[in-house]
């Protein structure tokens, strides 16, 4: 079984992002970039399935600037077998990404696509279900446990009130939640080996997809700042303030 894992290059989760002064976006120049954390979980899950003998090949796909090669290399160092880079400097949105991933899936015929449940930059949380829809496949989103048996997958999902278990038939889409696994660190020998693994580079046009954004960004602003309040000296003072000043209890 072939598994496709899309990986996104995003501003590292430890970076405090700054809105550009011209209001066109956030500052990304000179900022540390990393693989979207949920995508690391997706790669890890794919690698574990391969280690269990349930997967034959893992293809890591990234879409965006040439620098996304680095993100693919990270995936290869974690255990993916080969990479595909769809190179473009267009600001990609989930619909275009899902269409390009569909074109790649049509060609590669994976049985499973594992994606992060959300990217921590645009926080859209959309690509997984969109790809599932375009392929006409079922989806197991926000997965915290995945068990493959024959032609179906049992997925334990993180939902608002707790956990839900569904069974979906293969081929299928999985999106990862936090507790699915703890991604490994790539070892130095694996990082070296990853340099020799192949990465195919293509353009959106090669996949027959117009990547133009459908959402035009009018402006990007700082959110309203919250003023720090004051320190109270004791629990008694805290309760007094909540009762008599804030009047919330």
């Amino acid at each position: 079984m072939k598994i496709l894992v899309p990986v996104k290059r995003v501003v590292d989760y430890n970076v405090k992002v700054r809105v550009k002064s011209d209001g066109t976006g956030v500052e990304t120049a000179g900022v540390k970039m990393s693989m979207n954390p949920f995508d690391e979980i997706a790669i890890e899950e794919a690698v574990r399935l391969k280690e269990k003998g349930l997967a034959s090949e893992i293809i890591a796909v990234s879409l965006g600037l040439a620098a996304c090669q680095e993100t693919i290399r990270t995936a290869l160092a974690m255990g993916a077998d080969r990479g595909i880079l769809v190179e473009t400097d267009v600001d990609l949105q989930p619909l275009a990404v899902a269409k390009m991933l569909k074109a790649i899936a049509d060609k590669e015929q994976p049985k499973l696509v594992i994606l992060g449940k959300q990217a921590i930059d645009d926080d859209m949380s959309a690509t997984g279900p969109m790809l599932a829809a375009l392929l006409g496949w079922p989806q197991g989103t926000f997965a915290s446990k995945v068990t493959i048996e024959g032609d179906s997958i049992t997925v334990v999902r993180e939902v608002d009130g707790g956990l839900e278990t569904v069974v979906i038939s293969l081929p299928a889409i999985i999106t990862t939640d936090l507790r699915l696994n703890e991604p490994r660190y790539a070892s130095l020998p694996n990082i070296m080996k990853a340099r020799k693994k192949p990465i195919d580079v293509m353009k959106p046009a090669d996949l027959g997809v117009d990547p133009a954004p459908r959402l035009i960004v009018v402006k990007v602003e700082e959110p309203a700042k919250r003023q720090a309040g004051r320190k109270v000296a004791s629990v008694a003072e805290l309760v007094d303030k909540l009762r008599n000043e804030a009047k919330v209890i």
């Binding site: 405090k16 992002v17 949105q93 989930p94 619909l95 921590i120 930059d121 926080d123 859209m124 949380s125 959309a126 997984g128 279900p129 969109m130 599932a132 829809a133 079922p138 989103t141 926000f142 915290s144 049992t154 993180e158 939902v159 608002d160 009130g161 707790g162 956990l163 839900e164 278990t165 569904v166 069974v167 979906i168 038939s169 939640d177 936090l178 507790r179 459908r214 959402l215 035009i216 960004v217 009018v218 402006k219 990007v220 602003e221 959110p223 919250r226 720090a228 004051r230 320190k231 109270v232 004791s234 629990v235 008694a236 805290l238 309760v239 303030k241 909540l242 804030a246 919330v248 209890i249």
Partner: protein, 311 residues
């Protein structure tokens, strides 16, 4: 211009985040709502009373019983021709279903809107709420999820909508619901609670979360947690408040032993009053707290429980 809002419901009652989604939809024009499920007449009757809703579409069939994304998306696609906007709250259900609908309509979804500027233009948080993007959609049909914390929910009573049965739709059978293991709690839901008491890594273990119980009981509060506490295995993931968990905006948010990582602040900084109790006076949580108490939580929590008891 008419919007259709997919409503989350359980046991005949409508979920509060969906009432916030209706409030957002009202800013766009006429509002219809969709109640899908099996044996859900009571939920449809409840929805008919929502102020500002003119029609309830009732899809009552076994296929919709457990809100699986595949049949719900097929239903919404069948209903889509009558609507300019298809909406839901940004809940596990909304996030599961709406992007699927958007893809089938060749529309880029507009996730988690925090404000409505006009029929095409919306404000949404990006980068864990560290920036607010105003975006304009060029798609014919907008598919939207609504950040419930940003819109005051419409009331439960006051409307008189008609109820109409949805057409029968062929739905995919590639997914099957097996079971749910829902956290049992007498407490209000995190996203609907007036008061939220959350614990972080400072709680040290899952057992210590019991120290929050008397306080939550006294205040009628929901109990939440930071991602650090969830990652450490102290509490289940459905407690998580933050960028990758639930977004809350209660009247009172009490953060206990939570340092205030960006991703946690993203989930609670719109709360009306924020209290932080942390022994590290440099903790970033104090930068957003209205009232901060620098204290060992293991001393402060029993004191707080006793002090509330006295009131």
């Amino acid at each position: 211009m008419t919007a259709l809002v997919l409503i989350d419901h359980e046991g005949g009652a409508l979920k509060q985040p969906s009432r916030s989604a209706v409030a957002a939809a009202i800013k766009l024009g006429e509002v219809h709502v969709l109640i899908a499920g099996s044996g859900v007449q009571a939920a449809a009757d409840a929805a008919a009373k929502l102020p500002g809703v003119s029609k309830v579409i009732l899809a009552d069939a076994p296929a919709y019983a457990n809100a699986l994304a595949e049949p719900l998306a097929a239903l919404l696609i069948a209903l889509a021709p009558g609507y300019s906007h298809l909406m839901a709250a940004t809940t596990a259900n909304g996030k599961n279903v709406m992007p699927r609908v958007a893809a089938l309509l060749d529309s880029q979804p507009i996730s988690d809107i925090a404000d409505v500027i006009d029929a095409d233009t919306f404000v949404r948080p990006i980068y864990a709420g560290n920036a607010m993007a105003t975006v304009k959609s060029s798609d014919a049909k907008k598919v939207i999820t609504v950040r419930a914390a940003s819109f005051d929910p419409v009331a439960n009573e006051g409307g008189h909508a008609t109820i109409e049965a949805a057409p029968a739709v062929d739905v995919p059978t590639s997914s099957r619901w097996v079971s749910a293991e829902l956290s049992k709690s007498e407490r209000p839901e995190l996203t609907a609670a007036r008061v939220v008491v959350s614990g972080g890594r400072g709680m040290q273990n899952g057992d210590n979360f019991k120290l929050l119980d008397p306080i939550a009981d006294k205040l009628g509060a929901a109990v939440g947690a930071s991602r650090a506490a969830v990652d450490a295995g102290f509490v289940p993931n459905d407690y998580q408040v933050g960028q990758t968990g639930k977004i809350v905006a209660p009247e009172l948010y009490i953060a206990i032993g939570i340092s205030g990582a960006i991703q946690h602040l993203a989930g609670m900084k719109d709360s009306k009053v924020i209290v932080a109790i942390n022994k590290d006076e440099e903790a970033p949580i104090f930068q957003v707290a209205d009232y901060g108490l620098v204290a060992d939580l293991f001393v402060a929590l029993p004191e707080l429980a006793a002090e509330l008891e006295r009131g």
